[in-house]
């Protein structure tokens, strides 16, 4: 078992378990913390995939900024703890879980039926280059200039929007 596989197993276990825990904890704060753990696990997987830039962004932006925002709001609103999720409308919820399971099985079926790995030869070197900040930055400011600009407007709109919705005092 190579290190790569070992790391894969470790990171994926972290991600999967933290994801499951995240949706099953009744306390929102704990859920949020598990989600951060999940993001960290994902960051590890990204590194494993030679996506250094994304891995770093994942930690800084997602785990760092976004999740802090979540925690902040949770703390601010202090929602009461949820009851066990099966208490209200148990049939519907079991049904929901069942459907999710079915979709999972469907996706797995599709995945192993079409075998994407057959058409993909792992090209290590290229992928190492493609994940660097340099490569991505270059792409971002040349080929992907338009989405980049648009993303600026997106953030602008989100800022303004959040401002309208959450601002307390009304002039």
């Amino acid at each position: 078992m190579s290190l790569e596989i070992l790391l894969f197993i470790v990171f994926s276990l972290i991600s999967v378990i933290s994801a499951i825990l995240m949706i099953t904890r009744s306390n929102a704060v704990i859920s949020a913390l598990y989600l951060i753990l999940n993001f960290a696990g994902l960051a590890g997987l990204y590194l494993l995939l030679n996506a250094q830039f994304i891995a770093v962004t994942q930690v800084i932006v997602y785990a760092g900024a976004i999740m802090v925002l979540f925690l902040f709001v949770i703390m601010l609103l202090k929602p009461e703890h949820e009851k066990k999720f099966l208490e209200a409308k148990p049939k519907l919820k079991i049904f929901a879980v069942a459907i999710a399971a079915i979709i999972f099985l469907q996706l797995i079926y599709l995945l192993f039926f079409s075998k994407p790995s057959e058409s993909l030869s792992p090209e290590m070197t290229k992928s190492i280059d493609s994940g660097t900040i340099e490569a991505i930055g270059k792409q971002l400011y040349t080929n992907y200039l338009l989405p980049f600009e648009a993303a600026g407007f997106l953030l602008l709109a989100a800022t303004v929007g959040a401002l309208i919705l959450a601002k307390k005092k009304i002039e």
Partner: protein
């Protein structure tokens, strides 16, 4: 990279569906929202995995934009939740059902 890409994809699919399950069963609006974030992240994993195995950075750039979007959504979404909480003092989405039929 000796791990077949299917493993990554299966992992991603599983987490995606965990996120879906979270959306479907949790009652706290913030947690539902977090589950959506989980879905987005799983999708990101797919993109990055493909990106690496294909050897082009398009997927990773896309993930970058997804993160941007997620950030923006988080800002707006949490603002909406705050605004709602101010009026209703609850985050339980089972109780948010005045508009129906």
């Amino acid at each position: 990279m000796t791990i077949p890409i299917e493993y990554y994809l299966a992992l991603s699919a599983f987490m995606f569906l965990v996120g879906v399950t979270g959306v479907l069963i949790r009652r706290n609006a913030i947690v539902v929202f977090m589950s959506i974030e989980l879905m987005l992240n799983s999708a990101n994993l797919t993109l990055v995995a493909f990106s690496s195995y294909l050897g082009n950075s398009v997927g990773q750039i896309f993930v970058f934009f997804v993160m941007t979007v997620a950030a923006a959504e988080a800002a707006v979404g949490l603002a909406i939740i705050i605004a709602l909480f101010r009026n209703k003092l609850t985050l339980n989405i089972d109780e948010i059902n005045i508009l129906k039929w």
